[in-house]
Amino acid sequence: MIAILILIPLLPLLGFLILGMGFRIIPRKITAIIAPCTILISFILTVFVFYNHICLPASPPYYIFPWIHLGPLKIDFAFLIDPLSILMMLIVTGVGFLIHVYSVGYMKDDPGFNRFFAYMNLFIFFMLILIMGASYPIMFIGWEGVGLCSYLLIGFWFKNHDYNNAAKKAFIMNRIGDLGFLLGMFLLYTTFNSLDYREIFAQAKVMTAGNTTLVAITLLLFVGAIGKSAQIPLYTWLPDAMAGPTPVSALIHAATMVTAGVYMIARSNILYMLSPLTMEVIGVTALVTALFAASIAIFQNDIKKILAYSTISQLGYMFVALSVGAFTGAMFHLATHAFFKALLFLGAGSVIHALGGEQNIRKMGGLRKTLPKTYWTFLIATLAIAGIPPLSGFFSKDEILAGVFESNTSVWIILVIVALMTAFYMFRLLYLTFFNSFRGTEEQRHHLHESPAIMTIPLMLLAILAAIGGLLNIPELFGGSSRLSGFLAPVFADAVAIQQRNTPLTYATEWILMGVTLSLVLIIIAWSYQKFVKQNKGLQPDDAPRPLAVKLIIQKYYIDEIYDMLISRPVLQLSKMLHDVVEVRLIDRAVNGLGTLVVWTGKTVRYVQTGNVGFYMFIMVIGIILILFFNILI
């Protein structure tokens, strides 16, 4: 068993090493086999682990080798295999494999083919370490490692300066979060004398809710999650991260890495459950993020940017779920989101591929005919994210909404609004891309083609997942058995025990809530159909006169500019000031001043040496007299 567990992350690492060392010699065909196969085998092994786990639950962490052992500090390389990590492993290796296969087609003509797959394999390795680790430091290895891969892949086309800037921005913003995570770990260690999940949770279980230390720990860890999962105020890197190749956006910036924050909080569920203050902070942050990002998405015209803002907004959804203690709901939405958002990105990639790199949806249109497979899969994903039954997004969103309604009605209203905005911008995207007539250049029209099978087959597989993913956790309302909830229950058992249960919703209320949401969403879809397809509006040029508020949103609330003004520039100014003023004029001048002082003293005092022997003798006599005089005095 332990050998299998080691193999799961080791295979992608091996893939990385082989491809990384031989990136010049290995032919593309072999790369195209090695890279996806390592992930496929990992996936198969994960499935094996999954079945094994169902037979034999509750296993202790699998110890591999000691990492940092220093007196009482014991950090081992150890894997914790429980339902939560298995779920994530399945998503990462499963979706990761499909995206790898897709990438073989997508990156076919890129000169950096081998390099790309090396980075992708490395990413899967680090992501698996993040998920499987049995302690916070091991999670942190993966946490920083995926950040590195994200950096490398965003800046994959490194000749472009903007892409490099985007990559650097992502890494630095993640590092800000990582500092919070690191400090959180230190506080955990000084509080619990351990960094191992089991030991910490066992000790934390008996602590009183609202403990200040716990609040501080959870807030610091949440800072890490803010960075990694792109929440306010550290979200601006994610839209820029779309500079990377589209499969990267699908894998890293939609399905897996950005959900690490959600996973981390779900993993630390007990700590968070005992810190109501933190939960409120998470709730407010996430709610604002969800609304904010959704509003920006409505006015974007870059197909990938829309999806990026949508990802931020959906992540906000998951965090809201976490903040009300609906951990299963959050994980469920994480899973379904991984399916449909990966599908959306891959579909977008297919469109971009067909149009030869065009990303502006105003120059698309009518692609329904020429890209039928892409269109149908994209449609499924769009319906899923909008929450149309019986697709996966409907169930996961509904679970979150129901959970939120139990604790706070006003939050529920905002989330419904976000859901409506989601439906609107997604259908706007769909209509503008696939409906009406083509608005691109004649040359592009000529080259329009459906993607090859190696790209469309992963699309279709993902479409199936996006469609039926909801089956994982059909609520009792529909006669289901909430399988996922049952599967994850042992992980969240302690937290659920602590949580004060609100009275569960009656079936009637649930039906009403669902009905209200669904009908509103359908109205929005119909309205946007009217607006974008029938009237063919919404294509004003950028300089068209608009109300001030809309301008503000189109410019993304000027957040990037504000950060630039408040942080980047002052730091650069400070750097210049410290060097030119403090360093050169103050410290170095003081140091040189000491030397100059010595030289000056010598220069001044030497004038005593007049060269006049009589004068010397006079001084000598005076000196003798003075010495005698002092002798008499003392």
Binding site: R606, N612, G614
Partner: protein, 105 residues
């Protein structure tokens, strides 16, 4: 025999101080190197005399022994000093000390 102690010690003190001051005055005022050397000799001898006097008054021979040492050293010093003066005279054709100001600053 008239012991030396019949002459009061302060006579020696005053006499030697006077001699010493004349020596100092000579060193400070005179510009001729030879005269300065002589003045230094005068100072040394004033000290020698005082040492001898105190030695006699206190019946301690150490003082008189010291006088011999000083005389030896003084002789050596005069020998070197005169040699330097001769060399200076050869190069500058003068023994005026004010000419010897090349080593300033």
């Amino acid at each position: 025999m008239t012991p030396i102690s019949t002459i009061p010690i302060h006579y020696y003190l005053i006499f030697c101080s006077t001699l010493f001051c004349i020596g100092v005055f000579g060193v400070l005022v005179k510009r001729n190197a030879l005269v300065i050397l002589m003045s230094i000799e005068l100072m040394i001898n004033s000290i020698n005399l005082l040492l001898a006097a105190f030695s006699a008054y206190t019946n301690d021979p150490a003082g008189q022994i010291l006088v011999f040492f000083i005389m030896v050293v003084a002789a050596a010093e005069v020998a070197i000093g005169l040699a330097i003066v001769v060399l200076i005279y050869r190069t500058t054709h003068s023994i005026d000390i004010n000419v010897l100001n090349k080593l300033r600053w």
